[in-house]
C-alpha cells in the first residue's frame, strides 16, 4: 500500500521505556498467551505519522525444541526463521518489546565478530543457523547474511557490548504491570543507602556463619571486604564475576537464609548506585527475586485469564494446580503490589504460604526446564533463584530431585476442582496438542499406555485411556503432546507407518481433537424453571382437572 509506506518514518534507533533499541537488535517480545517471551530480531523500525504509533518488523527465532526435537546437542541454540512462509516475520508495536535479549551469533564466518568464551557462557542463547520454514531444514546463517547484509545477522562490536550490559534474566517478564515495580523502585530510592548498608551488615553476619566460603563471599568483618569487592569489580569483567558468584552462591546455603531474613528489606534496586552495590551478594538477587515473584504472578494472572501454552514436561500437572492456587492468592499478591510497603507484605505472604513457594517454583522450574537443559553452571541469575526457591534445603541438587519433591506434594493435594490432567487437556485441545487414539486394546491401563507411547513418540507429556463405551470392543485413548508440532509429527508417523500394540496386534489410529464448538446441553433436561418463575404453583401440584360436561359440578383437584 503506497499510503502505508508514505505514512511511515523509518528509524534506525528507537527508545522505548528507557531502553534504546537499534536496528538488528535481538529482543524479547511479550505475548500474553505464552509464559516465556519470544525472541526476535528487529529488522526495521518506524513510526506511523498518522497515528504516532511505533512499530517494528521482527524476525523470529525458533526454539531448539521446535526445530530439532530429537537432538539434544545444544539446547541454548536458537534458529533464525527464514522463508516465504507465514510467521517468519511480524510487524509489532514497539510496546510489546520488553527488553533486549542476551543472544550472540556463534557463526564461524569471517564477517562475524566472534564472541569470547565468557560472552557465550553469559549469553542466554546462541545461534549460528537459520531454519527455512518452507523447506523445513536448517542451514548456516551466513546465507541469510548474504541476503540481508552482514550487519543484520552477525555480531557487531556494539551488540556484544550491549549484551554484556543487559541486566536481568531472559525469562524475566517486564510486562506492563511491572511498571509498578519500577515505580516502587523509585519510591525506595531515597532509602537505598541505608537499606543497602543494613543489608550488607546482615549479609556479613550471615556469611560469618558459613562454612563453605568461596572467594568473594569470604567476609569476616565490617564493610571493608565489601569495599574490597567493590574495588575488585572494576578490574574483573562484570559478567565473569556474576557467573562465578552465581556458582558459589548456588552451592552455599546462605542464600535461602539470607533471602528469608532480608526479604523485608528488599526492594533495593540500588543497581544504579555502583558504590553501594555488592554485586555478588543478595541485594541484586533479592530485588530481582521479588521482581520475579511479582512478574511471575502477573504473568500467571494473565495465564489464568487466558490459556497458557505450557510447553514443559513437568509443568503440565503442576500448572493446572498453580493457576488454581494462584487464582486464590492472586488477589492477595496483586493487592500487595499496590502498596508501598509491599516488600514487607509480600515477604509475609511468602513466609506464610510456604507451599505457594513450591507452587511458583514448580512453575518457574518447569519454565526453566523448557528453556534450558540441566546445566547448573550456565544460565542467568533468574534460573539460579528458581532453583534456590525450589529446593528448600538448598543442596546443589540435581533438578530432577527437587522437581520430584514438589510433584509429590501436588499429588497429595486434592483441593482442586478439576483433575490436573483434565485441565491440561482442556488447555491442550485448542492448541492442537491433543490426539485421540482409537483401536486400543481395552485391557491396557493408563500407566501402560503412557510408557508405551513415551517410547514411541517424542515429546509426549501425558496419555490416558478414555472410559470405554460399553458396547465397543476396542478402547480409546488420549495423548497430550508438548507442542502442536510434535503432535502433528506423531499424527503423520501414525498415518505413514503402523503403530501396533503388542499382544493383540492391533494397529492404532489417531485423529486430532478439535475444540467442541457445539455447547449443546445434555438433552433430557426439561427447562421448567423458566416457566415456573412468577407463579405460585408448580406443575407438581396439579394432579388433574376434570371438567365433565353436563354434570352440575366442577371439580378441581390439587
Amino acid at each position: 500500500m503506497a499510503n502505508e509506506e508514505e505514512d511511515r518514518a523509518y528509524m534506525s534507533s528507537c527508545s522505548n521505556e528507557g531502553v534504546e533499541y537499534r536496528l538488528y537488535d535481538i529482543v524479547k517480545i511479550f505475548d500474553k498467551e505464552f509464559a516465556v517471551p519470544h525472541i526476535g530480531k528487529i529488522l526495521k523500525m518506524w513510526e506511523e505519522r498518522s497515528s504516532g504509533t511505533r512499530k517494528a518488523l521482527v524476525c523470529w527465532f525458533l526454539w531448539h525444541k521446535e526445530v530439532k526435537p530429537h537432538d539434544a546437542d545444544n539446547p541454548k541454540e536458537l534458529f533464525l526463521a527464514f522463508g516465504e512462509g507465514k510467521g517468519v516475520t511480524n510487524e509489532l508495536k514497539m510496546d510489546s518489546i520488553v527488553g533486549k535479549c542476551k543472544v550472540v551469533c556463534i557463526s564461524s564466518d569471517p564477517r562475524n565478530k566472534e564472541p569470547s568464551v565468557s560472552d557465550v557462557e553469559n549469553a542466554d542463547f546462541v545461534y549460528s543457523h537459520a531454519y527455512d520454514v518452507d523447506l523445513k531444514h536448517t542451514f548456516p546463517v551466513k546465507v541469510v547474511a548474504d541476503k540481508l547484509g552482514p550487519d543484520a545477522i552477525f555480531n557487531t562490536e556494539e551488540w556484544l557490548l550491549a549484551v554484556t550490559k543487559i541486566e536481568g534474566k531472559t525469562n524475566e517478564f517486564k510486562s506492563k504491570k511491572s511498571i509498578k515495580s519500577s515505580l516502587l523502585e523509585s519510591k525506595k530510592r531515597p532509602r537505598d543507602a541505608e537499606v543497602a548498608s543494613k543489608l550488607q551488615k546482615k549479609k556479613i553476619d550471615k556469611q560469618d556463619e558459613l562454612t563453605t566460603q568461596k572467594k568473594k563471599v569470604k567476609v569476616s568483618d565490617g564493610k571493608a571486604p565489601i569495599a574490597k569487592e567493590n574495588a575488585r569489580e572494576g578490574s574483573v569483567s562484570k559478567q565473569e564475576e556474576m557467573v562465578q558468584s552465581k556458582r558459589q552462591l548456588l552451592k552455599s546455603e546462605e542464600l535461602s537464609r539470607l533471602r528469608k531474613a532480608q526479604i523485608a528489606d528488599v526492594k533495593v534496586p540500588a543497581l544504579t548506585d555502583g558504590a553501594v552495590l555488592d554485586k555478588a551478594s543478595s541485594p541484586r538477587e533479592l530485588a530481582p527475586d521479588m521482581h520475579d515473584i511479582m512478574e511471575q504472578t502477573d504473568s500467571l494472572i494473565n495465564d489464568i485469564v487466558r490459556q497458557v501454552n505450557d510447553e514443559t514436561v513437568l509443568g503440565e500437572k503442576s500448572k493446572g494446580e498453580d493457576s488454581k492456587e494462584l487464582e486464590s492468592r492472586a488477589g492477595n499478591v496483586s493487592k500487595v503490589e499496590r502498596t508501598p510497603e509491599e516488600g514487607r507484605e509480600a515477604a509475609d505472604h511468602e513466609g506464610d504460604i510456604a507451599d505457594g513457594d513450591k507452587v511458583e517454583s514448580k512453575k518457574a522450574l518447569a519454565e526453566s526446564d523448557f528453556s534450558w537443559q540441566e546445566d547448573l553452571n550456565k544460565g542467568s541469575m533468574f534460573k539460579l533463584l528458581k532453583k534456590t526457591k525450589s529446593s528448600l534445603t538448598m543442596e546443589p541438587e540435581k533438578r530432577t530431585a527437587s522437581a520430584v519433591e514438589p510433584l509429590k506434594q501436588f499429588e497429595k493435594r486434592k483441593i482442586f476442582r478439576e483433575l490436573p490432567w483434565e485441565e491440561s487437556l482442556q488447555r491442550g485441545i485448542p492448541q492442537g496438542r491433543v490426539l485421540h487414539l482409537h483401536n486400543i486394546d481395552p485391557l491396557v491401563t493408563s500407566a501402560d499406555m503412557r510408557e508405551m507411547l513415551k517410547s514411541a513418540f517424542q515429546g509426549l507429556s501425558d496419555a490416558r485411556i478414555l472410559p470405554q463405551e460399553a458396547s465397543c470392543p476396542s478402547g480409546q485413548a488420549i495423548a497430550i503432546f508438548e507442542s502442536r508440532l510434535l503432535a502433528e509429527s506423531a499424527l503423520e508417523a501414525i498415518e505413514k507407518n503402523c503403530l501396533v500394540m503388542a499382544d493383540k496386534k492391533w494397529p492404532v489410529i489417531a485423529s486430532r481433537v478439535k475444540e467442541s464448538l457445539n455447547q449443546a446441553r445434555f438433552p433430557g433436561h426439561l427447562a421448567l424453571e423458566k416457566l415456573k418463575l412468577g407463579r405460585n404453583l408448580t406443575s407438581d401440584e396439579f394432579v388433574s382437572f376434570f371438567y365433565l360436561e353436563g354434570f352440575d359440578r366442577i371439580w378441581i383437584m390439587f
Binding site: A447, E451, L453, P467, A470, G475, V500, I556
Partner: protein, 215 residues
Amino acid sequence: MGPAAEPSSSEKKPSPSNAPSEYQKFEEKVKRCLMLEDVTPQATIPMVQTALGQFGTVVSIDIINDPLDPKHAAKRVIVEMKTPREASHAVKEIREHPFMIKGVPRPVRALHAVATMFPDRPQKPSSGTKRTCEWVKPGDPEWEKYNEFKQLAKKHAQELTYLMEVIRKEEEKLAQEQEEKVRENVKKLDEIHLCVKDRVVHRLSRYYGMKFEGD
C-alpha cells in the same frame, strides 16, 4: 470429581510383595461395583448417593467425566456397594424400571462393573512381560496386513462417530418434543389455576346454575 474412597491411583508402583493383594482387592471391589451410564452432567455425589441408597449401603461414588466434553456430555458413575448382592440387585432393578436421577426424564443405564471401566486401575501383576508397541514400516513383511487392519479400524471409527452423531440428534429431537409438550401442559394448567384464582370459575358456575366445589 475426586473419588471418595478409591484405592491409590496407578501412579504408584506397588512393590512385588503386596502387588497380588492390591490387585485382588481391586478385583473384589469390582465385583461390588456397578456402573451407571447416561447420567446427567448435573448430577452430584450426594444425589447419586440418595438415589442408590435404596438398594443398599453405598460405599463410594466416582463420577467419571468424558474428558473430551466434560461439561455437557453424559457422565458415568461408578458406584461401589457394600456387597456384591446389593450391586446386582441395583442393576436388576434399574434395568427393569426406568430410573431417574435428579428428575431428569432420561433414565440411566446400569451395568455390572468390569475391570476395564476403571481408568486408574492397578496393573495386573500376573502379566510379567511389559507391554510394548512397535512400529511397522511400509517395507516390513507384515505391512500389508496391518495396513488393511488400520484402514478398517479407521472406517469403523468414522462410522462410530457418525452413528453417535445420529443418536445425539435423535435425542435432541426427542427432548425438544417433550419440552414442547411439557410447556403446553404447564400453560394449560396455569390457565386453569388462573381461572380459579380470578374467580372466573365461580362466576361461570353461578351463571350456569351449577355448584362449584373445589379446593
